[in-house]
């Protein structure tokens, strides 16, 4: 299955690049199209995502978007069903991959409309070919409507990403500067080539008004929603993932900039091309840095970025910069990842001798006949305490702790914490305490599950990692059936 997906990813990437070339050739000469294609493929993080993480939605969406643009151009040229019908499966498939893909329909919908005269011309075309435009509306309805099934699955959310927390858009691009300029995942920091799209949009508006609004509104809607998304940094990876598929569209304004440059005298042309050339080389070098884990997949910061800028190795002082700036958020094992799962610790509290100071209770239990009492006098549970190396020699490993809790006080008074921490020479780092106060129900067994990523950069592999429950309050709480699972990434051989 994995091999098939990889094969599909390769096919998609090749098709995407080919379609991009065909689209660009509709507007530009061969040299301009060639340079633009090279800049998009090798000068942006699309390169990293197709060559090193090919089987991702971005790769497929890039191809599908390029196809929609090509079909639109051909359809608008001679208004033949031949080009309109394939748009339906392409758009619907894109929408199922990522429901924001519905915005690509701005391209055919707004094609040729930019003022009153052009609107009247479009209206005439609609009158001439009402069935085709009705079919286009059908595509809109299906593309939008089918993805709304998610709405029924998760009522109250306008856009659904399988995560209620991440589905709420604050409707203003509250993260606009972070998504562009943050050293964690800033688009212009890791893909500066795309800054050239903006002068390109100016030139596009000057030279080809017919397609301007379709492209502009597509990009605008995509950008505003991406910048409003609570998870704007879009998880691990190189650069800003949110925009990769949009490069299929943004290649056109970039092409107009190249066209403008190619119309200049040779020495001006060479001078102006140094900037995209620099961005291209920078992208290739940073992609290499990413593959060598010099640029890390998550939690980059300004200090670390500049410490490793242009470097072929990352020293320990650089790594400390990463650790010191680690942003501790609620961690989750990525749903898209493939892992080998093994149980590395567990306590069912069936035998009285479990842990220090036998505190097993046989009156309340979840499974079997015993549980563990967390009280003010004995606030800590038995837990995991191993070196990072002993847990797993691999990188990017996760722990998942599952347990059952029972208490009869008010939920706010139940001050039990699940603590994860790494310790280097008695000093803790990446300390996370999940406070459960107010989050559980009284007088019933509550199931909890929390994830913790073992730090990818640590001072020493012999640092100790500990996991335990801690009752910091006055009231008793019972614990039962604790399991700690290890998630090790499956490595392709």
């Amino acid at each position: 299955m994995t091999s098939l997906l990889s094969l599909l990813a390769v096919v998609s990437a090749v098709a995407g690049i080919l379609l991009l070339w065909l689209v660009l050739r509709k507007f530009f000469t061969i040299p301009v199209s060639l340079v633009t294609t090279i800049l998009v493929v090798f000068g942006t993080n699309y390169f990293c995502w197709i060559f090193f993480d090919g089987a991702t939605p971005h790769n497929f969406l890039f191809t599908l978007f390029a196809a929609v643009i090509l079909f639109t151009i051909n359809w608008q040229r001679d208004l033949k069903w031949l080009w309109l019908i394939p748009m339906l499966p392409v758009v619907v498939l894109a929408c199922f991959i990522h429901d924001l893909s519905v915005f690509i329909l701005f391209v055919p919908l707004l094609w040729g409309i930019y003022d009153r005269t052009s609107w009247l011309a479009t209206r005439r075309r609609i009158m001439e070919q009402p069935q085709q435009y009705l079919f286009l509306m059908l595509i809109v309805v299906l593309a939008f409507g089918l993805t709304r099934f998610a709405w029924f699955a998760e009522p109250g959310t306008a856009f659904y990403f399988g995560d209620r927390e991440a589905s709420v858009y604050p409707l203003i691009a509250a993260n606009f500067h972070l998504i562009l300029f943050a050293f964690n995942k800033g688009w212009f920091i890791y893909t500066p080539m795309m800054m050239l799209v903006f002068p390109g949009l100016y030139l596009l508006a000057e030279r080809n008004r017919t397609i301007f609004f379709g492209l502009f509104f597509f990009f605008l809607s995509w950008f505003l929603l991406a910048a409003s998304h609570p998870m704007w940094n879009a998880g691990a990876g190189f650069g800003q993932r949110f925009f990769i598929e949009t490069y299929a569209v943004l290649a056109i304004p970039l092409g107009y900039l190249m066209q403008w440059i190619f119309q200049k005298k040779i020495w001006i042309r060479v001078f102006l091309l140094t900037l995209p050339a620099f961005f291209l080389l920078l992208n290739l070098f940073q992609t290499w840095q990413y593959t060598q884990k010099i640029i890390v997949a998550e939690n980059m910061n300004r200090e670390y970025y500049w410490a490793v800028f242009g470097q072929c190795v990352a020293d320990s002082s650089g790594m400390n910069l990463l650790i010191n700036h680690k942003v501790v958020l609620k961690e989750r094992i990525p749903a898209t990842g493939k892992y080998r799962i093994s149980r590395i610790a567990g306590w069912d509290f069936e035998t009285p001798a479990t842990g220090s100071g036998s505190l097993n209770d046989t009156t309340i239990y979840h499974g079997g006949k015993g549980s563990w009492l967390l009280s003010k006098a004995k606030p800590y549970s038995p837990g995991l305490s191993k070196t990072i190396n002993a847990i797993s020699p691999l990188d990017s490993v996760w722990l998942r702790v599952n347990a059952w809790l029972y208490f009869d006080c008010h939920p706010d008074e139940n001050c039990v914490n699940l603590v994860f921490t790494c310790i280097h020479k008695s000093a803790p780092y990446k300390y996370i305490a999940h406070n459960l106060a107010g989050k559980l129900k009284a007088r019933t067994w509550n199931y909890i599950s929390f994830d913790y990523q073992v730090p990818e950069y640590y001072p020493d592999r012999d640092d100790e990692l500990t996991v335990y429950f801690w009752n910091s309050g006055e009231r008793d709480c019972f614990l039962d059936d604790i399991t700690i699972e290890l998630f090790e990434p499956l490595i392709r051989k």
Binding site: I172, N175, L178, A205, E206, R209, F216, L220, N324
Partner: protein
């Protein structure tokens, strides 16, 4: 002048009636949540001063003994002075005059419906929402008519949309409508509309002139600084200094100047009578201790850019008004210099006022009424934008304007009572972040107390005797042992754990070289157990009489002290119970 067609007139009427209905709905939703007041009240604080003239005149007939008991303590602004048997109101009666018809209708309904007809009941508060909204919409109507003389009708409509959605006019129309600003805005818009009609008409209508005189006098009555409107009569649409001279001579003719002065005088008679009732004198300055204190060194930068109610920071759309003014000046469009002059003059007046930040307000509120004038610059800019040939420039600029409006509305819908200092950027950043308006990374947090803003800490006595910056310091009296108290949970400061805290302040022990005081930093856990206590006596830093000395210290927090719930405290300990001055306290979390 092009006359409106019947269809356009109907459109205007329908649009503004619908706008009025919509604004009433919005105002109610902002002021009341689930039928209960969402704010301290429609008349709370200063707003009650403008309003209280009405119940005092029509219900209580200025007999303060008949007022509801201790009603002044509810609204915390006007005073029922039992000793002198007077109702003390700082502001003038102009707003009350404009609102009187609405009040009388409300009072009539209350009597007929057997509701409590005391002028302060819930019914009066709810009905009072209508008055400012009415004047807001009417002001926008006249402004649209005025702008349509300079730009196309659709641009004029777009301008009033942006003005409403993108500036604090929205807030002062719908949320704090009973402040004077929306009433002044209406009068300013009406004045511009009438003046344009008066100046453009072939034969200048005398009736229109008298109406202008009434409107200007009314505006001055509401806010004395509106006397500047007289300059509008002289400067609107002039193209040369010669025209200015001609216009002055025109309005100085007895036919115009005497009725103008008489109108103003007649309108002020009730005010003179009130001042006589209050002080025994017909002329009375009702703002004791408040003046244009900074006329020599106005706080212009702060008025425009400070997180403490800075004009541009809260109303970024005003930047487009400024851009419009610049465009008008550069392209020699008439009124360019006039608008530039007024922008600077108004900024200067605000920046010279002793409380330049107009405490407890949203954005820079004295600008609200002047938007009527600056809307002209915005409209001309917008006209250029919507007719820009390049679609990207056109769409991009309109998009930025829309985002500015959205930003403004987000702030209004997540109200902020700004208690921070002049340049407390991090507090403003945290506010934007918390309210999901703009998210930021919080790698460090700096708390600043420059003692400029209103303080609710009883130990803080603001003084202007000797200041470090910008206009106030804190006078430490022997009364309090613990002064300038500040506390913050360590978990609320940064995206990560706090590892270092640096503190600093400036001291002037003006009684002698030694103040005997000191700076205290402590960390305590959630059970209030002390984890860290550091005492920095000022004497150790070589303080000198009448000289500001910086006291600074840095604390590295050990990891075990770094719990999110632990609280960092800072205060000035006046151990010897002496007098000294403190200014510019800075606490930085890293």
């Amino acid at each position: 002048m092009k006359m409106l067609t019947r269809k356009q007139k109907w459109f205007d009427v329908t649009f503004f009636v619908l706008l009025f209905a919509g604004m009433i709905g919005l105002s109610s939703s902002l002021m009341y949540k689930d039928g209960k007041p969402a704010t301290p009240g429609v008349f709370f604080s200063d707003k009650s001063q403008y309003y209280v003239y009405l119940p005092a005149t029509f219900i209580y007939h200025w007999d303060i003994k008949t007022f509801p008991s201790r009603i002044d303590t509810v609204y915390k602004s006007f005073v029922l002075d039992d000793k002198k048997d007077k109702l003390v109101i700082k502001v003038t009666y102009g707003v009350a005059l404009l609102a009187a018809p609405f009040f009388l209708v409300t009072h009539g309904i209350a009597i007929l419906s057997a509701l409590p007809a005391d002028g302060f009941s819930d019914f009066y508060e709810k009905m009072a929402l209508i008055t400012p909204v009415f004047y807001l919409v009417l002001g926008l109507f006249f402004l649209q008519r005025f702008l349509a003389r300079y730009v196309k009708r659709n641009v004029a409509y777009l301008t009033i949309f942006f003005l409403l959605a993108g500036t604090n006019l929205f807030h002062y129309g719908l949320v704090e409508g009973w402040m004077s600003h929306v009433f002044s805005f209406f009068l300013f818009s009406l004045c511009l509309f009438l003046l344009k009609g008066f100046l453009d008409g072939g034969k200048r209508s005398y009736g229109k002139f008298l109406f202008i005189a009434l409107v200007v006098s009314m505006a001055v009555l509401i806010r004395p600084t509106s006397i500047l409107l007289l300059l509008w009569l002289v400067l609107l649409d002039v193209r040369s200094f010669r025209e200015v001279g001609e216009r002055i001579l025109f309005f100085l003719r007895p036919k115009y100047s005497i009725p103008f002065a008489l109108t103003g005088f007649v309108l002020f008679i009730p005010q003179f009578l009130y001042w006589h009732y209050l002080s025994g004198s017909y002329m009375f300055y009702s703002y004791p201790g408040e003046s244009f204190l900074f006329w020599k060194n106005p706080m212009l930068t702060a008025v425009w850019f400070a997180p403490l109610n800075g004009l541009f920071l809260y109303n970024p759309l005003v930047l487009f008004m400024v851009a419009g003014i610049v465009l008008m000046v550069c392209r020699r469009i008439p009124n360019g210099w006039f608008l530039a002059l007024f922008f600077l003059l108004n900024s200067y007046l605000i920046a010279s006022w002793h409380a330049w930040y107009f405490g407890g307000s949203y954005g820079c509120r004295p600008f609200v009424e002047y938007y009527a004038l600056f809307a002209l610059a915005f409209a001309l800019l917008l006209s250029q934008v919507v007719h820009a040939r390049n679609l990207f420039v056109r769409s991009g600029l309109i998009l930025v304007m829309l985002l500015c409006s959205l930003y403004n509305l987000k702030i209004i819908y997540n109200p902020l009572w700004n208690t921070s200092s002049t340049w407390a950027w991090d507090d403003f950043r945290n506010y934007l972040d918390t309210e999901d308006i703009i998210h930021f990374r919080k790698d460090s947090y700096t708390h600043i107390n420059d003692f400029e803003n209103i303080s609710f800490d009883p130990s803080v006595n603001q003084t202007r005797i000797n200041v470090h910056s910008p206009t106030k310091a804190c006078h430490i009296f022997p009364t309090f042992l613990f002064n300038c108290n500040y506390a913050r949970a360590l978990g609320h400061s940064l995206d990560r754990k706090v590892t270092r805290i640096t503190v600093s302040c400036f001291i002037d022990p003006f009684m002698s070289d030694s103040s005997g005081g000191g700076m205290v930093c402590s960390v305590e856990n959630s059970k209030r157990e002390l984890l860290l206590y550091k005492w920095y006596p000022f004497n150790r830093y070589g303080t000198k009489q009448f000289r500001w000395t910086e006291i600074s210290a840095s604390i590295d927090l050990p990891f075990w002290m770094n719990d999110d719930n632990n609280i960092f405290r800072f205060y000035i300990l006046n151990e010897k119970r002496t007098h000294f001055l403190v200014d510019d306290i800075v606490v930085k979390f890293k």
